[in-house]
Symmetry: C2
């Protein structure tokens, strides 16, 4: 039980440990080598009866926890999506924890609500969102949620609620939520949570895994004809698998004929790139502003704000409050009753909420819009370099067009073409072969601990994803990554060549399916 | 943009500011005197283009944010429920933020999952939960959610999903969620979110606002007769308004006849008192262990762990995973596929999750079970003193029996009895009069900034709540609170007396309704 001076000492010590961690980060393995259950061998099964000295506890953090962490801030972390954190965010988190409060309404801690109202507008302006989405419009507005899944679920709840209010006789079982086959699991999960039907519209490789207007229209026509009620579409700007961007201009045309369709745009990862005007067109910035009923991006992903900080905007704030407002007597306040203030408890699913906007404030001010944009551009430039180097090797090929700071690749058929043991016509590798070899490559990569990439499957094509986003990644780390990829891919191809040399000494490959 | 050494300096400075804050806390107003919109006068409407020096930002925290905070850790904070935080929790939050990751499955950061698995068992053992609820049982288990609303929503989702699986032909519209009229808004909100019917069973003052078995049985019989499907009851151990405890022994008897009724027990505030064996009987510890399908308490309320940290246990983990598991290819891992590890993403609504268990670990070890219990007992003892002093004044009376560290009171009829201007038969104050006077008292209290209490309404009776819970509150603060209450109540009564003196000099009061 620390008193104030003991806390000062322990706090300094914790800060020092964090400095040590960041000095050593690039020399640590990206991911731990622990086995399932490792921690149970070091930690007793029951809590101690008596107090333990705090320095022992802090030591155990270093000894037991750090070696079991996957280092998402590591410069060679290229997996999933970044959770790019900053020192500014850490200090904000510390202060938030020190003034610990559940900020559920204005009166419960005015600064928490007021800063969130302002920071959501700063963020909206940084991304160029239409003024309808600004809190200052008193019409729409934004609130911070935990994750993009939470934001999407909140939007689906609001959409379902709106549809139920405007179509009171339609049974729950007739409602349909639209996603695509490339939408993040947040769509399926929201449907599962709410017991809703979901229709994942097929997207095609030749469209870059983007939802086209015609496919949407066909689905709508079919479902409506069958008495179903499509009430919402979750469109994606930057899918998880490949960074695909749904075709919002076409969706806009279809939406004109279906005005009751709520369009939620999930730009969890890519949305922060709207901060740079040069990427706005490719992200369909104008259409987002025109057609989104709700829009989400995660500043805790590629936005330098420590997890968690998912920003959700709606064009009409009553869509949230009508769906979520419950005001029991013990939560009534004169400010809330007067309508003078936002009570954020009615803008999210839970009641209490952390004071997350402080992180946004600290990061926005310490980086400035300029510094924020520079970081985004740097990541994209590093991915461009990655692609250039990748293309120079004949071992690997992109499976889809690169998306901002994300590349999706696999073993290239050309890696298999020029067999040393055959000078005959170059064979075409089958999808199966390429999948097998790319899986081998991925398996080799996962057994290394100096780099971290993750997998995906795109309409049957097994792929490896490479995303640049850690605030500490520099060009040299990207070059090292290419080096590792070349080394392992060469190993895979050599192995394959050895195995595929038939008894007659010829390479055995079949003409393949066109895969992309 | 801080580099490592700048972070060290800024981190130390932030720690120092927190020390200053805690040294000054008791001399600060409990709540701020800011008006709605105050912060917008000090913060620009748009984020700065260029980087600002970090010490300016930190200064602004002290200058602009601190004066707008309600100080939930203030020793004179007796409102809502505590969010008792500790220095240990702050340091844990800082470290969590520094190793920033979204810990959605085991592989994404093994230590995060493993510590949560272990800490949920430490917590379960501290509270004496049946081993079925322990993660080590591999049958049930626990996970940390954000808030009790989040925990309850998760439980309702799982219950609805189970009922839908076992009753596939029952339409959504026939389902009914049971709460009582005293259940926290989390019940209503979960129903609103999920579009479910909710029935709030009436509870009575003479039962101490506790749900009785007969009332539950009558509701079940009626609804079943009408073709409805009650699938879940949210029972409360320690309601928000008055700390009422639903009659679990009677509910147990009724539940025997309704085996498909999911019983979620919300003990958001009171649950941590199960750590002390002497309070277990009054909290129906044995029955919780027998009948709860799911159980929740918030360590971030009265449990010394910094917000947020809501602990949710289920008797059968597949009830969560069946309802919430979605595994897209990009989230598949060999550890998850093998079933060797818990993937906590399938135990909550979102995907990513903060590494909250570190706070539990730090607090449990620094306090020990002993220190934790001592704190709980100290709070209850302080409330006992409060009640003793309250009873000595004839100005105030309890409206319900005190519950642990919570008292609910109002202006006492006896405060109005001995009028200086009348020696006639003592009049009985009406409910209306007492409500009006208690509202006046509450209004006087809210206009002060040296104390914070909150209101509630119990079956028409306007009440004021007093909860002890801040880690920094000592007996002297409770005495000061009584002093303030007496002073303001005397003012209210004197004013009433002045106003109620009729033209003939007699006190005008009517015979009242019996209120409690």
């Amino acid at each position: 039980m620390l008193d104030i001076e003991e806390f000062r000492k322990a706090g300094y010590a914790a800060i020092d440990r964090i400095c040590d961690y960041y000095y050593s980060l690039s020399s640590l393995p990206v991911k731990p080598s622990v086995s399932p259950g490792y921690l149970s061998h070091h930690i007793p099964k029951t809590l101690p009866e008596s107090s333990e000295p705090f320095n022992h506890i802090l030591d155990d953090y270093t000894k037991l926890i750090l070696p079991g962490l996957t280092h998402w801030q590591h410069p060679s972390f290229f997996g999933f999506y970044p959770t790019a954190c900053t020192f500014e965010g850490m200090i904000a988190d510390l202060l938030v924890s020190s003034a610990c409060n559940p900020g559920f309404n204005w009166a419960s801690s005015p600064a928490c609500t007021e800063l969130e109202v302002l920071m959501m507008d700063w963020a909206a302006k940084l991304l160029g969102l239409h003024s309808d989405f600004h809190n200052s419009s008193s019409k729409g507005g934004g609130a911070i949620q935990t994750t993009a899944s939470d934001s999407a679920l909140t939007a689906v709840v609001a959409a379902r609620s709106l549809y139920a209010r405007t179509h009171p006789t339609v049974p729950h079982e007739s409602l349909v939520l639209y996603t695509t086959t490339q939408t993040h699991s947040l769509g399926l999960k929201a449907a599962k949570i709410l017991g809703l039907n979901v229709r994942a519209i097929e997207v095609k490789a030749e469209d870059g895994y983007s939802l086209r207007g015609e496919a949407l229209r066909a689905a709508l026509d079919e479902d409506l004809k069958n008495g179903k009620h499509p009430f919402m579409l979750i469109a994606t700007v930057g899918t998880t698998s490949s960074g695909a961007i749904d075709n919002l201009p076409e969706i806009k045309q279809v939406a004109k004929d279906h005005p009751s369709l709520w369009i939620h745009i999930d730009a969890a990862w890519a949305g922060v790139a709207l901060s740079c005007p040069e990427y706005r067109d490719q992200l369909y910035h104008a259409e987002i502003n025109e057609i989104a009923t709700s829009f989400c991006t995660n500043f805790h992903k590629w936005g330098l704000v420590n997890f968690d900080c998912s920003t959700l905007w709606v064009r009409d704030r009553t869509l949230l409050t009508e769906a979520l407002d419950i005001t029991p007597p013990f939560l009534r306040t004169k400010e809330g009753d007067s309508g003078l203030v936002i009570d954020y408890r009615n803008w999210h699913l839970a009641l209490g909420r952390r004071f997350r906007s402080l992180k946004l404030w600290f990061v926005f001010r310490s980086y400035g819009a300029e510094g924020f944009r520079a970081y985004i551009k740097r990541c994209i430039a590093m991915n461009d370099s990655f692609i250039t180097e990748l293309k120079q090797t004949k071992l690997l090929e992109l499976v889809t067009a690169p998306s901002l700071a994300l590349s999706v690749f696999r073993i290239s058929p050309s890696a298999l073409a020029s067999s040393p043991s055959s000078t005959s016509t170059e064979p075409t590798a089958t999808l199966e072969t390429l999948n097998t070899l790319t899986k081998s490559l991925y398996s080799r990569l996962t057994s290394r601990n100096d780099i971290l990439l993750t997998q995906t499957v795109l309409n049957g094509v097994f792929c490896i994803r490479f995303v640049v986003g850690s605030e500490r990644t520099v060009l040299e780390d990207v070059r090292k990554a290419v080096g590792v990829l070349v080394e392992e891919a060469e190993g895979v191809v050599a192995e394959w060549r050895k195995e595929s040399v038939g008894v007659d000494g010829e390479v055995v490959v079949q003409n393949g399916n066109a895969v992309v």
